[in-house]
Amino acid sequence: MKSLSLYEDKQSFLNGLTPGCKAFYIIAALVIPAMLGNKLISIGFIVLSILLLTQSKVIRRTLPILAVSGFVLITVIIIQGLFRAGNETVVLDLGPVAFYKEGLIFAADIAINVLNIIFAFCVLVLTTKPSDIIESMVSRGFSPRIGYVFVSLFQLIPQMTERMSTITDAQRSRGMETEGSLLIRMKAFIPLISPVIMSSFIDTKERAIALEVRGFNSKEKKSFLNVFHANAASRPIYWILLIATVASVVWKLVMMFA
């Protein structure tokens, strides 16, 4: 059973940055454009993220993520372009339907924000070992449970998918139709999902016990197997991002009260 973990160690510049530094990059990429209210800055961050991911040789791993989100974004663009309230200026007339400039601009705003968020998260997730993320969170005072939930999710989803497939086969072998029209699929949904949920509860309980007997709730101070050899650039980058973020917030406040 394969893990869904997206991390790949390519010995790159991003691999060497601390998880904290990359996490702060996400904050900066979201906060600074929001404070300055300028889409060009969002686009700047998208370009920067793409360059960093390309340099780290993991840009191809963003494609499946973009494929999923791309489908949603195209839907948003179509709906907003056609039907947004306040649409006035036609930019593309296709006979019975017309795309409007106002709706398309609004949809483009959304798309830029979503892409900025996705690429910024990719910078962290694709270039950071899951256990390093947990260790970084724990060392900053976060509960190990939060870190565990965050990281284990990627590995446990395939297990649930496999179970779903086993249950589907079992139900099919008893004569249940699982393919065909929407109505047939809806009828099959409850007999399929109920055992998946029940067995997941049982698995979760068993896993909770297995974690318990390995000291997951121990009150001892944790130690870590791996030593993270951080790139020397981590600290200056972290401070530059912090200063830029704080400066953007201050600028916004000044503008609000000026």
């Binding site: 059973m1 394969k2 565990y148 297990q159 698995d203 318990e212 007997v213 390995r214 121990s218 870590f224």
Partner: protein, 279 residues
């Protein structure tokens, strides 16, 4: 090495009426290999969980009697305080993988990290456990990429790395193919040779007969018998308790072949083979 003392242990799960364990009293000496047998629902898993404090501290429910690991009364300590002394391995190897580590080596470190074991000590213990369980060649593999038998051995290694004096295995081979089962039995035999007390619930009766110093027979939460494999499998009432003797024992019983100088029928393949060869 730790001694286990159990005095009149009774337990009932929350929202149930039947006792899952009913008046169990026994002593287990350090270094013994104890097999636990009985039909489904006889209380085997509950008994195992009572040794590490999951019963009653995790499940709650009504509890009576006492379980001592040396001078520690199990109900008075939390599971995480006891689990460095008593390790437990469960049936399903998949559910014992934490899901938060990328390699077998890191997976085994999980418990040690939780107890703040220094890094050098941690590495030594992991290397020893990998070697003992014969999975050193898989150290850089992803835990979920292992076969069932390999994954179960990794689960045992994760527990062994915590240096427990007692290891409790609850049907560790029930979801494994014959080869995977054999791998696990060999690994457990090594632990026993190392002096670790082994308590193993198992339905593979031929195997448990071959490896155990003594066998507990449970039925309806009660301890029916606790004796050597020879004594246990010589009982006439095994079928009433949902257990059958090893196939070698049954064959030799049908042929009237007893181990020379004793009243017992052979319980292992070796014993039966020697007798049949002489015949």
């Amino acid at each position: 090495m730790a001694e286990i003392k159990i005095e009149n242990l009774k337990y009932r799960y929350p929202d149930t009426k039947e006792l899952a364990l009913d008046g169990i009293t026994c002593d287990i000496k350090p270094g013994e290999f104890i097999g636990v047998i009985g039909r489904n629902g006889s209380g085997k898993s509950t008994f195992c969980q009572s040794l590490i404090g999951l019963v009653p501290n995790f499940y709650r429910g009504a509890y009576g009697g006492k379980v001592f690991i040396d001078d520690i009364e199990v109900r008075n300590v939390e599971v995480d305080e006891l689990c460095q002394k008593v390790g437990m391995v469960f049936q399903n190897p998949f559910n014992q993988v934490t899901g938060s580590k990328l390699t077998v080596y890191e997976e085994i470190a999980f418990g040690l990290e939780n107890f703040g074991i220094p890094r050098n000590e941690m590495k030594k213990r992991i290397d020893d456990a990998l070697e003992l369980l014969d999975i050193a060649k898989y150290r850089d593999r992803a835990p979920f990429d292992l076969s069932g038998g390999q994954m179960q051995r990794m689960a045992i290694a994760s527990i062994i790395a915590m240096n427990p004096e007692i290891i409790v295995l609850d049907e560790p081979t029930s979801q494994l193919d014959p080869q995977g089962s054999e791998e696990v039995f060999k690994a457990v035999a090594k632990l026993s040779e190392k002096g670790i007390t082994v308590i193993m619930v198992e339905h593979k009766i031929e195997k448990i007969a071959a490896y155990s110093d003594r066998i507990m027979l449970l039925d309806g939460g009660k301890l029916v018998a606790f004796d050597t494999p020879q004594e246990i499998f010589a009982r006439e009432d095994l079928a009433e308790h949902g257990v059958v003797a090893p196939v070698y024992t049954r064959i030799c019983k049908d042929l009237g072949l007893r181990v020379p100088g004793t009243d017992y029928y052979p319980v292992t393949l070796d014993e039966a083979h020697k007798l049949l060869a002489c015949k």
